[in-house]
């Protein structure tokens, strides 16, 4: 892989980590203020819903990290899948000419 292409990715990763770091500190601050008091009822839940509800009630930090990471992973997976499907039908995206 070209080094010039790696540098922006590394910078982006560092910024992302910094943002997550700041968010964790911010979140801990809020935890101390008792904003995590809200709990959901798990009585009628099962499967994935129950798992999410337990995570939400008992491990809020993991719920937050899980939500953020799963949205990112899901987004990347969809983007790759769509690219794959489009390429399969011969629809590849290329650089476009900018017209004003």
């Amino acid at each position: 892989m070209n080094v010039k292409r790696i540098i922006p990715l590394v910078i982006m990763l560092v910024i992302l980590l910094l943002i997550v770091f700041c968010a964790v500190i911010y979140a801990q601050d809020h935890e101390e203020q008792g904003t995590l008091a809200h709990k959901v009822n798990t009585e009628s839940l099962s499967g994935i819903s129950l798992f999410l509800a337990i995570l939400y009630n008992e491990h809020r930090l993991f719920y937050a990290l899980g939500t953020t990471i799963s949205m990112a992973v899901f987004g990347i997976l969809i983007a790759l899948s769509v690219d794959f499907i489009l390429a399969h039908f011969g629809l590849t995206i290329s650089k476009m000419e900018h017209r004003e």
Binding site: G75, I78, H98
Partner: protein, 345 residues
């Protein structure tokens, strides 16, 4: 129909899957085409159909994060993302947002700032919208006279960006992806701090401020402005998603379902930018933010007159605008693709 309704365990409400997919699809299309997160559409939509306001914001931010990844990747393939500019925008915006938020905290001590914020929001939406419409009309007029008279090509950037380029405070950087040869780093940084400040002050994602800023102040081509704006929205969405999830205000299942709809919509929105020229995107964006301004004005009237039906109309205006614009973008894509196919044969 109950068969399409699912129980959302965290928000603790029953919600229609079809509705979530539709909202996701609409906002995905608009996001891919305009480079915005679309919180001003999703939040009222979820709220109108039964979500608690804070859950609506948190769930929306989570889906914006996932959607922005999809749309940014696609725009990047089309050469529409200026990574260097995007990174500067993120740093500048974060500082600006914090300054804006601190200003709100200060103003809150003085008195009720809600009304003031809504007025600034309205002025900004109508001001930007009208400015962009006038710019479009001016450009159309100039284009027709250029075609008939001299055949000269238009200059790069805008008159405002040209003036900003002349400020040469070191370090001076180049942005090849945006076609900018030399611009002071501090000028760009200041622009993003200003847009971030406005976002923090108004409590909005800021895509609708960032896009015109990239076009008119920085002088990016419209398609690059859309892609780069999405890169910034991606980081803001990621931070917002985590922050709201930590506060327990994100419904993961709803966000995932919306993301499926948004993924399809984003493909349509991004591909449509291929067939619509820069000024076409600008005028549609201007119409969209003027309609959003009307919606905020109705909300303001509702707050002042305390007549509930004005609030409902405000929601209908924003949802109607989003639906109509999605349809229009889809038609533009179909027309462009058909014309391209015809040209190929």
């Amino acid at each position: 129909m109950d068969v399409f309704n699912i129980w959302l365990p965290i928000a603790e409400i029953k919600f229609s899957v079809i509705l979530l997919l539709s909202i996701g699809f609409c906002v995905g299309t608009l996001g891919g085409f305009f480079g915005v997160g679309g919180a001003w559409i999703v939040t009222p939509a979820l709220n109108i159909f039964g979500f608690n306001m804070s859950f609506a914001i948190g769930t929306d931010l989570a889906h914006i994060f996932g959607k922005s990844i999809i749309a940014t990747k696609k725009h990047s393939k089309m050469g529409n993302v200026d990574v260097k500019l995007g990174l500067i925008s993120i740093i500048g915006s974060i500082i600006g947002v914090e300054l804006g938020a601190q200003t709100i905290m200060f103003l809150e001590k003085v008195g009720d700032v809600g009304m003031v914020v809504r007025w600034i929001y309205m002025v900004l939406l109508f001001g930007l919208g009208i400015f962009m419409v006038l710019d479009y009309l001016k450009a159309t007029k100039a284009e027709s006279s250029t075609d008939s008279d001299t055949g000269a090509t238009p200059t790069k950037g805008t008159p405002i960006s040209q003036k900003l380029y002349s400020i040469k405070i070191p370090p001076v950087i180049s942005l090849p992806a945006s076609g900018i040869e030399a611009v002071s780093f501090w000028v760009i940084f200041a622009v993003f701090m200003l847009t971030g400040f406005l976002s923090g002050l108004l409590g909005v994602g800021g895509g609708f401020i960032l896009l015109p800023s990239l076009i008119y102040l920085i002088g990016c081509p419209t398609a690059v402005a859309v892609g780069t704006s999405l890169l910034c929205v991606l980081f803001m969405g990621g931070y917002g998603c985590f922050s709201y999830a930590m506060k327990g205000r994100t419904e993961l299942i709803a966000a995932m379902i919306m993301l499926v709809g948004a993924a399809v919509g984003a493909q349509i929105g991004v591909l449509a930018t291929r067939y619509v020229r820069g000024y076409g995107i600008r005028i549609l964006f201007a119409i969209m933010i003027i309609l959003a301004g009307i919606s905020v004005a109705l909300k303001q009237a509702y707050a002042m007159l305390e007549t509930p039906w004005l609030g409902t109309i405000a929601g209908i205006v924003v949802l109607g605008a989003a639906g109509s614009m999605t349809l229009l973008i889809f038609l533009k894509l179909l027309r462009g693709a058909a014309a391209e196919k015809k040209q190929a044969f």
